[in-house]
């Protein structure tokens, strides 16, 4: 008769990824490279925001972009064309998020001697990307006005893990029932430390403030090494 044996594991499914992420973070730090993980829902304006932001700061820091999507390379092509910075496309092969291992594969395809700042545009999704640490130095997310000011209540983890919340499409605020102050209250209820920067990627409003935040974070991080 076969004997039944139970082997205790008691381990979080995310534990291995967190180890990989910490290792990647340390490695990037030692090479003086800052990795920003940018998350949001589909259609919040990640790519348009990035183009505005990159064009504002590309003379001050050397930037590379990694675009993560389930399929296609439309974003990588668009970024390269509009900004001239190196941009690579990562395919998650059907997965709804990027993990540290996949991020590393992307990083390995960049010449880190030529880069100070890597921006990772994560898969458009407010759930899974928040659960998987990519190894980034900072996490940012974009919440666009049409999505509503209640999203921090509905997707608490996303707002908990982000250092910065960019509120995009403020130019259409008059047409939506979106209250910026209520939104900030909802965000800070989940994450008192989160920075909130309202922008309109379309008109360019607020991009200066966003650029200042990012350059400051990149420099602060460098000093810490």
């Amino acid at each position: 008769m076969n004997e039944v044996k139970v082997i205790e594991i008691k381990k979080s499914v995310f534990a291995e990824n967190e180890k990989d992420a910490d290792a990647l973070r340390q490695e990037l730090k030692s090479k003086g490279v800052f990795l920003l993980n940018l998350m949001s829902s589909p259609g919040s304006g990640k790519t348009t925001t990035l183009i505005q932001l990159i064009n504002k700061i590309k003379d001050k820091v050397r930037i590379a972009v990694m675009e993560a999507d389930i399929d296609s390379d439309v974003d990588a092509v668009k970024i390269k064309k509009a900004t001239g910075v190196p941009s690579i496309q990562l395919h998650t092969g059907g997965m709804c998020h990027l993990d540290a291992e996949m991020t590393r594969q992307g990083i390995d395809n960049l010449d880190l001697n030529e880069v100070d700042l890597v921006i990772l545009e994560n898969v458009g999704n407010l759930v899974c990307p928040a659960e998987f640490d990519t190894g980034s130095c900072r996490n940012a997310m974009i919440l666009s006005v049409p999505e509503g000011d209640d999203k921090p209540l509905k997707y608490p983890l996303m707002f908990t893990v982000c250092d910065l919340v960019i509120v995009n499409k403020t130019d259409v605020m008059p047409y939506f029932d979106f209250d910026l102050e209520r939104c900030k209250t909802n965000i800070h209820q989940r994450n008192p430390k989160a920075e909130v920067i309202p922008i309109s990627a379309k008109t360019g409003d607020g991009i200066d403030r966003l650029a200042t935040w990012l350059l400051q974070e990149v420099n602060v991080d460098k000093l810490r090494c």
Partner: protein, 115 residues
């Protein structure tokens, strides 16, 4: 099939394969999971994805995924009491405070394997 749960399944498979290797096990009959009520993982979707992916692995053919639910409980820092997270969310039902923290209920853990 759900992409989120499928991703989690791939992580479980990676971890239990390692445990099997470490313990010189060639077949696992059950994997026991602890899934928190507010973990964003839906157990019946997880078991659906599990069936599809596990049967592709000789180590896990026919292996059951058993999900234990861990209730979500929040602690209120203001009145120092606990309450059910799913029912009341972020705001304490005893004193209305938002100064509250999840004690448990967001676990996605592999509890054990039966070989």
């Amino acid at each position: 099939m759900n992409m989120h749960e499928l991703g989690i399944v791939f992580y479980i498979i990676r971890d239990v394969k390692q445990v099997a290797e470490d313990n010189h096990v060639d077949h696992i009959s059950t994997v026991v999971m602890d899934i928190g009520e507010v973990s964003t993982v839906v157990p019946h979707l997880l078991t659906d994805c599990w069936r599809w992916a596990a049967d592709k692995e000789p180590l896990l053919q026919g292996c059951e995924l058993q999900c234990n639910t861990i209730p979500a409980v929040t602690w209120c820092d203001e009145c120092k009491r606990e309450y059910e997270t799913v029912k009341y969310g972020k705001t304490c039902p005893h004193c209305n405070s938002d100064n509250t923290w999840l004690l448990h209920g967001n676990e996605v853990e592999i509890n054990s394997i039966v070989v």
